[in-house]
Amino acid sequence: MKLAGTASLPAPPAEVWSLLTDPSRLSRLLPGCERLEPDGPERYKATVKFGIAAISGKYAGTLEFAHKKPPNSLILKIDGKGLPGFVKGEGRLELRAKAGDTEIAYNGEAQVGGLIASVGQRMLDAAARKIVHQFFEAAKAELASGKGAASEPSSLGQSHARGK
């Protein structure tokens, strides 16, 4: 499964960078994230609850940062498995200043296996898009609360997911 798109966050890249790379704050952005603990340099143990329709369950695994170039780009790697199957993927995030905001371009690919692949296939893309949407919405809220004030209106850029 491929996932690519852009999103806009109402803060300069440095602030967005610190949000995305701070595990205590990142855990609040990840939908269903129940636990995110350090597990070595740039590596975290994660427990995420995630479901597509009736196929829900907990995934345990790792989240890893690589090729960090603050505040411009980083690669995020995930590797998790749970009862509904397994997910393994990696995505590149690029941050760019744009009129005081940050535009994030993301581009990733994930392997999904097990029950979730055989049964949830036709819903996977939509579910992945929804997770991305929720993630950036949560980021906006987090940035807003960090400022202690409502931020300027922002919008999610065009995003698209493609099954393969």
Binding site: F86, S118, R122
Partner: protein, 777 residues
């Protein structure tokens, strides 16, 4: 013999119980103290198993046993493969994976619990440590240089190479005016019987008796295999195939679950049941087809086909099931179809990939053959700008040519291909269809007419050409009350033998079909038999029944003649009486003669009491049914939707016992072909995940996708058996896909397109039309 019932459209004796839900499938059977098995299946297409931790599952409530592949190592032999091809590599499937999994759905562990919910829940407590490996999904990449072999100790993923050549191919291509080349793909499909598989096993330790109920097409072969796999005395194994809700070849097999459930029952001393879920059925019951064919055809300008060469890549999946390697070789044998093609060659490369095994699916290798050769005929017609009918007729053998020897080494028994073609053209009103097509094209409407003239190889078959016996058994016993039991080794799963064999019994013995009970599927009651597959039930199983009926009839004639004082040769059986032909007053009631055989006071001298006869019928050849199917489609240029407009099926399966059942078989087969042609495709993604893993994602045809099937028949009896019957169970799937493909190609002809690979999904057709529209206009 007067035929009051043979040839008549009697309603099926089976149907009232099936329609009312009164029948018993494996899952309907319940035994006291029964436990339930559940299998943990691999989510990875290819991975090493580092460890399997069953400790939590074993402690779970209700769980009585949990086993991994290591736990049963050596106790159960791998899944048997009966097909042998020279130099084929080992691809034996372990009943539980031990150190490596090779397809999504392969079983890694099994557990038994007191109810099926506890069993299912406990699966979640099993911890397997997998080390994922790169899956090999594409068969061409699997045999490319450098591809890692799936099976340890092998140098590549080539399971076998098989070649067949007949005639002078070099000369054919040298003499050719033209050579046509084309690649065609016969995609992987999932058979989807309504009843999934199921196994119930019961072991009585005192008697040492093991009883296995399984949804199978081959109860006797299964009994032998279970005994072998478990190293258990065959005499103490009793296999029952109760009501079986469809098989299409998927149950012509031996699966790990059949041996494991039996093993579990023995270990526990408790009855154990396993019922396959639909998802398991998709992942771990055999798939069908999956061939890539590269064709070269040598032709003359007048449409004569001189030679045909075909290189086939057959995607076998990860392991062999019972007949896996054999299936593509049947494509080779039938590659020249119903045409006089003097030279032909097929080279098959069987390939291992990280998928479920392919094996026999309704037609088994022959739908691939008709698809191949019928696409060839259409391509030749398009190349030479001739009609598809003309090119076919040009290459037909004539009726006087039968028995006809093919360059692939077969002897076609009997045929009149022109006759079936003529009838189909007449029923379809072909000329008018072409006129209508021309008219619609002017209106930019795209109607297509597809023709498939086919021959199939059925009535399997002589034992010399079969992996494990091509004969069939039947015992006929007239019981003391005059009722007749027919025990057949041909174990039905929807074919209706209970009706057709009763019709035969009634006509031979001059009684009513209601007096005849057909018994099948129980190895303790029925003499050793082979099973129902390869359109053999009537041609081979029916002939065994017929011969046993004749033996019993002969004895009854002697008894009756002895009673009335006449000549046994002259006795006639009708209306539940046996009487002398010239003097009908010399008559005894059927029941009286039967009674005499058991009371045994008035029997002719030297005659043994009782009324029972058994036959093991060995046919001398296969049978070769044939026919012509014509399909009319209209393609919506806006959406690419292929709509079936008309379907004409003229089939010749020789003599017919019950035309209603023949038509039912033809209809069912055609609908399955419509499925493959328009919708169905087993899709594995690059990681080897089966993403068409259930009925929401795998499109089967529905009633609304069909048009009425206009069925007709010609009758060309076979000399191979005394009934003159050929078989019809697979005709629909063998004949129909090329008719549909031909119709779609014909509709797309204005776009300059002559071949599109199945399935003809809207998206694909729309793309073809959009891409080519500009080019032509």
């Amino acid at each position: 013999m007067t035929t009051r019932f043979i040839g008549k459209p009697l309603k099926r004796k089976e149907d009232p119980r099936l329609i009312q839900g009164l029948s018993h499938y494996v899952d309907d059977l319940n035994l006291a103290g029964m436990h339930y098995a559940a299998f943990l299946r691999s989510p990875y297409a290819h991975a090493n198993i580092r460890s399997v931790d069953l400790s939590k599952a074993r402690r779970a409530s209700g769980v009585v046993l949990a086993l991994s592949g290591t736990d049963i190592d050596g106790a159960i032999q791998p899944v048997p493969c009966a097909a042998q091809i020279p130099d084929m590599k080992s691809g034996a499937r372990p009943v539980l994976a031990r150190d490596r999994v090779r397809f999504v759905g392969e079983s890694v562990a099994v557990l038994v619990a007191s109810d099926r919910y506890a069993a299912r829940d406990a699966l979640d407590l099993i911890e397997v440590d997998y080390e994922p490996l790169t899956p090999i999904v594409n068969p061409e990449k699997a045999i490319a240089k450098g591809a890692a072999p799936l099976h340890a100790g092998q140098k590549d993923n080539v399971a076998f190479k098989w070649e067949l050549e007949g005639g002078d191919l070099k000369a054919a291509f040298k003499a050719a005016d033209k050579v046509i080349k084309q690649r065609i793909v016969n995609q992987r499909v999932i058979p989807v019987p309504i009843e999934t598989r199921g196994v119930l096993a019961d072991y009585q330790p005192g008697e040492g008796q093991l009883t296995v109920w399984s949804s199978t097409q081959i109860p006797h072969l299964l009994r032998t295999q279970i005994a072998s796999m478990l190293n258990f005395p065959e005499t103490l194994v009793h296999v029952v195939a109760p009501e079986v809700g469809g098989g299409f070849g998927t149950k012509l097999n031996v699966y790990p679950e059949e041996a494991i459930v039996a093993y579990l029952a023995i270990q526990l001393g408790k009855p154990v049941k396993w019922s396959e879920s639909r998802r398991e059925n998709f992942q771990a019951t055999i798939h069908g087809r999956d061939q890539i064919d590269d064709l070269e055809v040598a032709i003359k300008r007048d449409g004569t086909i001189l030679g045909l060469r075909c290189r086939v890549i057959a995607d076998l999946g990860a392991y062999y099931q019972l007949l896996t390697p054999l299936i593509p070789t049947l494509t080779g044998l039938m590659m020249t179809g119903c045409y006089k093609i003097p030279a032909a060659r097929m080279e098959i490369t069987g390939v291992f990939t990280n998928k479920m095994a392919t094996d026999a699916y309704r037609g088994a290798g022959r739908p691939e053959a008709t698809y191949l050769i019928e696409r060839v005929m259409d391509l030749v017609a398009a190349e030479l700008k001739k009609g598809p009918v003309e090119v076919r007729r040009k290459n037909f053998p004539q009726p006087k040519d039968f028995p006809y020897a093919t360059p692939t080494g077969l002897i076609y028994d009997s045929g009149d291909y022109q006759k079936a073609l003529d009838m189909a053209l007449k029923v379809a009103d072909y000329k008018k269809l072409r006129q209508e097509q021309a008219k619609l094209r002017k209106e930019e409407r795209y109607m297509g007419i597809g023709i498939s003239t086919y021959v199939e190889i059925c009535g399997m078959g002589p034992s010399s050409a079969m992996p494990a016996g091509g004969w069939e058994s039947a015992t006929v016993r007239v019981e003391p009350t005059g009722r007749v039991s027919v025990m057949t080794g041909s174990s039905p799963h929807g074919q209706g033998q209970e009706t057709t064999f009763a019709q035969m019994g009634a006509d031979v013995l001059g009684i009513d079909p209601s007096q005849v009970q057909v018994v099948h599927g129980d190895t303790s009651v029925v003499p050793y038999g082979i099973g129902t597959f390869g359109s053999r039930a009537t041609a081979v199983g029916g002939t065994a029944v017929y011969k046993s009926l004749q033996k019993v009839k002969e004895k009854l004639a002697r008894i009756a003649a002895h009673i009335v004082g006449s000549d046994p040769e002259r006795m006639v059986f009708a209306n539940r009486k046996i009487f002398a032909k010239q003097s009908p007053k010399k008559s005894v009631a059927f029941g009286q003669a039967v009674s005499a055989a058991y009371v045994a006071k008035t029997l002719p001298a030297e005659m043994e009491p009782g009324l029972e006869a058994t036959t093991f019928f060995e046919p001398t050849n296969f049978t070769y049914p044939f026919g012509t199917h014509i399909c009319v489609v209209e393609i919506d240029a806006e959406t690419g939707d292929v709509k079936l407009v008309r379907y004409v099926a003229v089939d010749d399966c020789g003599n017919v016992i019950n035309p209603l059942l023949v038509e039912g078989q033809v209809q069912g087969g055609i609908v399955q072909s419509v499925g493959q042609a328009l919708f169905e495709e087993a899709v594995y993604d690059e990681q080897g995940q089966l993403i068409t893993g259930e009925l929401m994602d795998y499109a089967l045809p529905r009633a609304s996708d069909m048009c009425w099937i206009e069925a007709a028949r010609t009758v060309t009896p076979t000399p191979v058996n005394p009934l003159g019957v050929k078989g019809v169970g697979e005709a629909g799937t063998i004949a129909a896909t090329p008719a549909l493909a031909g119709a779609v190609a014909d509709a797309l002809a204005p776009f300059g397109v002559h071949h599109v690979d199945m399935p003809f999904k809207r998206e694909k057709i729309w793309q073809v039309m959009s891409k080519n529209r500009r080019r032509v206009q």
